[in-house]
């Protein structure tokens, strides 16, 4: 009983280590290919459009609602201490440092990450990647790299838009609905939020961008070329991305605080 449990644990550990190794090697290959891929920036721009622009609506709507909830909850909490004029500061710090990067990354994994993984998986299942190989075109260079870079560059931009719209939502509820003074809302925010706070959010979203894009292209590119395999790759993309984003968020917060 204990022996079989230990064997199972060892097998799981070995599988996890193998997966980590495969991810590392694939990631290193992508890093090595980056300078060459940037030379064909048109392909990257196309993928920024696919991953970024197509995610705009969901990011903006989510940002607005998250900001509005933050406005309501923040007002309720701060009112108890008689400091509701600090709502702007609380909303800005919450959005820029935490909610903006994290929620954007989770939404990105669900919207753009799954699209990337399923697209690459279907390209493998329908022999499009094999056809490229036969045309002496490296699929990693031609297909994977632009998608990886497009996703990576989109994430900080999307997180910035999320935070801006979120601030607008918090202001809408706090100032327009709950009656917080508009001048106090903005001036306290300007006074309290520092450049370092903004950079913390930018750094987090950049790291999440690399992680989510790497997971999506890895899972899609290595998917089993069947309908079930593509479906599994898509699911794994969302699950792994979500867990990794939350884990990285804790680690980055712990380091930067």
């Amino acid at each position: 009983m204990i022996a079989s449990l230990a064997r199972e644990l060892l097998t799981s550990l070995r599988t996890a280590l193998e997966a980590l190794g495969a991810y590392t090697l694939f990631g290193l290959r992508l890093v090595a290919e980056t300078p060459r891929a940037l030379l064909r920036f048109g392909l990257v721009v196309q993928q920024i459009h696919n991953a970024g622009a197509h995610s705009l609506v969901i990011i903006m709507m989510s940002g607005l609602f998250v900001g509005m909830v933050l406005g309501l909850q923040g007002f309720d909490l701060l009112e108890r201490f008689g400091s509701e004029e600090s709502l702007g500061t609380a909303a800005a710090l919450g959005l820029l440092k935490e909610l903006g990067p994290v929620v954007t990354a989770l939404l990105f994994a669900g919207r753009a990450g799954t699209a990337l993984a399923s697209e690459l998986g279907l390209m493998r299942a329908t022999d499009q990647l094999a056809a490229m190989e036969m045309m002496a075109v490296d699929p990693v260079r031609r297909v994977v790299m632009p998608r990886f870079l497009g996703g990576t560059l989109s994430m900080p931009l999307l997180a910035a838009i999320f935070s801006l719209i979120g601030l607008f939502g918090a202001q809408l509820v706090g100032v327009q609905l709950m009656g917080v003074d508009s001048g106090q809302f903005w001036s306290q925010m300007r006074g309290a939020v520092e450049f370092g706070d903004v950079m913390e959010g930018v750094l987090k979203s950049a790291v999440f961008g690399v992680a989510c894009s790497l997971i999506a292209v890895f899972e899609g590119y290595h998917s089993v070329p069947t309908a079930e395999g593509v479906g599994r790759a898509t699911t794994r993309t969302v699950v792994i991305s979500s867990v990794v984003v939350l884990l990285l968020d804790y680690m980055l917060t712990a380091v930067m605080l």
Binding site: D127, Q128, M134, M135, A136
Partner: protein, 262 residues
Amino acid sequence: MRLRDVHFSISRRAIFSGVDVDIGRGSVTAIMGPSGTGKTTLLRLITGQLLADRGLVEVEGRDVATMSRPEIYRMRRRMGMLFQNGALLTDLNVYENVAFPLREHTTLPERLLRHVVLTKLHAVGLRGAWHLMPAELSGGMARRVALARAIVMDPELLIYDEPFVGLDPISMGMILRLIRRLNDSLGLTSIVVSHDVREISAVADICYLVSGGGIVASGPPARLAHSEQEEVRQFMHGLPDGPVPFHYPSPDYESQLRQVPA
């Protein structure tokens, strides 16, 4: 091109154990055999997508196993391959699909590139369909676009993987005529993997019959058609039972019927 004593296995299951094949310049060679005998695997060995466990796979005097990745890519630039389902890039239209290898490997001015692409599309009869997306094409049209893409770099070797699967008789006839016409007019060497005996016999110069991990027969199609060898007869005449059994290995029929499911 030649293969000598090629052994290859996947997950300890032997696919080939000692295959010898010779493909002469300028010929149309058919690789035939029942489903699952490794015909496509043979193509992948020739194109360097897979490496043999043992034996020699030689293309233009060079052993594929000793080639580096850039050398394999250079070799593939002189090859064209038509995949079973066409494998067109679904986000590009017909014109861009055919132009794809040229855009990747050359710096031709747009005017010249357009000229080459339209010439190749004209050769397969689809010049007027240049603007269509792959989803708008029938199976036969997709196969012909893929053929135009395969010849756009003027390859020396053209490989067809099951080019007749799922085609209606008209489309099949078109592809058959194109195989022979392109081979002769462009001076190509062609390899066709198929199990459509009648069709492929009409255009092939020499046929190899793959079965049971090796080549069971080879020669001109007419000779294979009159072969007395049992395996060859079964395949060439489509006999349901023979060396390739109709039934998958099964337990005793009656005892299996009597068995109460758990």
